[in-house]
């Protein structure tokens, strides 16, 4: 039995950078819904890591597939970093439950499924020690057009606080809340020069980069026997200060 860090959303943006940072020193179980990207990643970081093909939208199958995958690979998960997420700018007037539901599945419901598998003794023993959710400052501040996204991240952080109590003292659970950073997910936003200049104006330290967020994730990932749990760590260049 080998211990792995499970990373979702691992084939792009913050997740990808996290994978590249952690892969030299840790065994990773990389989760993605693009087979091509997973294969590409396998070529660049190597065979010693595990690659789990899973569409998080298919929430109903996560429990069965992940349990089986861990069993078949004799893998135990001791750390879980949830990076998978989708964003969408829709004014509240135009929101409907169907479109919000899709976002909730990827940003929130899938996390619940994964955590419940990883906490199952018959699947993962008592291996899990550390959970990090990549949330967003949208969880704690309102931004126009982010109704669904804010709700999903708010749900994630509320859930985080609860499980930090339920799973203590064995597991520490924390969230990292990035401000606006340039990733494939936020690509459309960053193509608009007006928005970029606006963002640069409102962020005291200017717009951030993926690296700044990954530094924070890596810091909490590498902490052993930490006493920090149930916390939200804002990484936003001072925007919400």
């Amino acid at each position: 039995m080998k211990f792995y860090t499970l990373i979702t959303g691992a084939t792009s943006g913050i997740g990808l950078k996290t994978v590249l940072e952690l892969s030299p020193k840790h065994n990773l179980l990389v989760v993605g819904r693009s087979k091509k990207k997973l294969e590409h990643l396998k070529k660049s970081i190597g065979d010693e890591h595990l690659y789990f093909y899973c569409d998080l939208l298919d929430v109903d199958n996560i429990e069965n597939n992940l349990s089986l995958y861990l069993k078949n690979n004799n893998a135990l998960i001791n750390k879980f970093i949830s990076c998978a997420g989708v964003d969408q700018n829709t004014p509240a007037k135009s929101l409907n439950s169907r479109s919000v539901n899709e976002m909730m599945k990827i940003n929130f419901y899938s996390v619940i499924e994964i955590v419940s598998v990883l906490m199952k003794f018959s699947v993962n023993k008592a291996s899990l020690k550390n959970i990090i959710f990549v949330s967003s400052i949208s969880s704690i501040r309102g931004f126009k057009g982010k109704g669904a996204y804010s709700a999903s991240k708010g749900a994630l952080d509320s859930y985080m606080r609860v499980i930090s109590k339920e799973f203590a003292p064995r597991v520490v659970v924390n969230s990292v809340l990035p401000g606006a950073v340039h990733t494939p997910m936020s690509e459309s936003t960053f193509q608009n020069a007006d928005i970029v200049s606006h963002l640069n104006n409102i962020y005291p330290m200017g717009v951030g980069s993926v690296d700044k967020v990954v530094d924070c994730i890596k810091f909490y990932h590498d902490l052993e026997n930490s006493w920090i749990t149930g916390q939200q760590f804002v990484v936003d260049g001072g925007l919400t200060s």
């Binding site: 819904r33 693009s34 087979k35 091509k36 997973l38 595990l50 690659y51 789990f52 093909y53 899973c54 199958n61 069965n64 597939n65 089986l68 995958y69 861990l70 069993k71 078949n72 690979n73």
Partner: protein, 360 residues
């Protein structure tokens, strides 16, 4: 013939169907019959929707897709496969065996046996029997059984009696030795003297395919067919099924010491809705216990109808803790008829997935 085995189990079943749905109501113009007359048959026969693979996709492609799904999403280790069986009427080539091609594509180890078996309707049971026999050998602990067919290309599009009921599909079943000591009895019978009542006349050595064999001809009842197409003596096949399958079911139940009530579901090959209903009545079981919705949703895909039936209708039951008793039976091409009783619970994988050509 009845062969008895011990300590075997199916751990995973995945069926794969093409994304493309073809609807009977959209095909009506292909046929030479009055629309109203064809529509009358819709509910009786189960002419409704069927799956048709894109032209460049073969049965082996769908099997490969299903196997890779098990590897990528369920963590199946390809190196753990000790034997691969591919059962189909529609191989990639005459030479080499399609199982060899798949062996390469799936990245299996060299210490792995590969077989092609040319079989149809009874092909899933025939395959299980082969897998069980292989597993009796020391050194073989896990067998991949791949069933697949692209029947839509073997049936004339102007054959209203056959085209609406056929579909393309593939399936993968993983079979292992287990500590379960309950015996599994597999029944098989063959009637080779009637083998040509269900056939594709041309394309083999007896009658190579030529331009002539590909010409569609009115066969007298308003349906058009060529010698390259599947043809059958419908009435003979029907009579054979109605007389032999119920007898076999009785024999199986007698050997197992079971009553019809003890069986939770009769998972039978799916030729068409009418035949299945008649068969259920003849066997003497409630039609509810004989799932009969594969033709109208996917089409008859030869040996894949049983795996599709299991994954489409019984997923929730078979993945639960409760043990479910299934009687599986296949019948047709050969003429071969075969069946067995299986107790299944907590199956690892029981899924129906759609074949996607473009992988994101």
């Amino acid at each position: 013939m009845n062969l008895s085995f011990k300590g075997k189990k199916i751990t995973d079943i995945v069926s794969v169907v093409p994304e493309n749905v073809s609807r009977f109501v959209d095909e009506l113009h292909q046929y030479s019959f009055p629309v109203e007359k064809s529509l009358k048959l819709k509910d009786i026969m189960g002419f409704n929707e069927h799956r048709v693979a894109p032209e460049d996709v073969t049965a082996a492609d769908m099997c490969e897709f299903g196997f890779n799904y098990l590897v990528d999403s369920k963590g199946l280790n390809p190196a753990s496969i000790d034997a691969l069986i591919f059962i189909s009427h529609t191989p990639d080539h005459f030479v080499p065996p399609t199982s060899s091609i798949l062996h390469g594509k799936l990245g299996l180890k060299e210490d792995c046996l590969c077989f092609d078996i040319n079989h149809g309707c009874a092909g899933f049971i025939v395959g299980l029997q082969q897998a069980f026999m292989l597993l009796e050998n020391v050194g073989i602990n896990r067998v991949a059984l791949l069933n697949g067919d692209t029947l839509s290309r073997k049936v004339s599009k102007k054959d209203r009696n056959s085209y609406p009921v056929v579909g393309d599909a593939g399936s993968v079943a993983i079979i292992e030795n287990s500590s379960d000591t309950n015996p599994i009895n597999v029944f098989t019978k063959n009637r080779g003297k009637d083998s040509l009542v269900l056939k594709i006349p041309a394309g083999g050595s007896r009658m190579p395919s030529t331009h002539e064999t590909s010409i569609l001809k009115d066969i007298g009842d308003g349906n058009f067919r060529s010698l390259d197409n599947l043809e059958m003596e419908g009435a003979s096949v029907f009579a054979f099924v109605q007389s032999e399958v119920p007898k076999m079911v009785d024999e199986i139940l007698k050997t197992e010491g079971l009553n019809k009530d003890d069986i939770d579901f009769f998972v039978l090959h799916q030729p068409n809705r009418f035949m299945l209903e008649k068969l259920a009545d003849k066997i003497g079981v409630s039609r509810n216990k004989v799932p009969n919705n594969i033709v109208e949703n996917f089409g008859n895909s030869n040996s894949v109808t049983i795996p599709i039936n299991i994954t489409f209708n019984l997923k929730n039951i078979l993945t639960s803790n409760r043990s479910t008793k299934l009687l599986l039976a296949g019948f047709g091409v050969g003429l071969t008829w075969s069946g067995l009783v299986l107790d299944i619970n907590n199956i690892n994988t029981c899924e129906l997935i759609e074949f996607k050509k473009e992988i994101k």
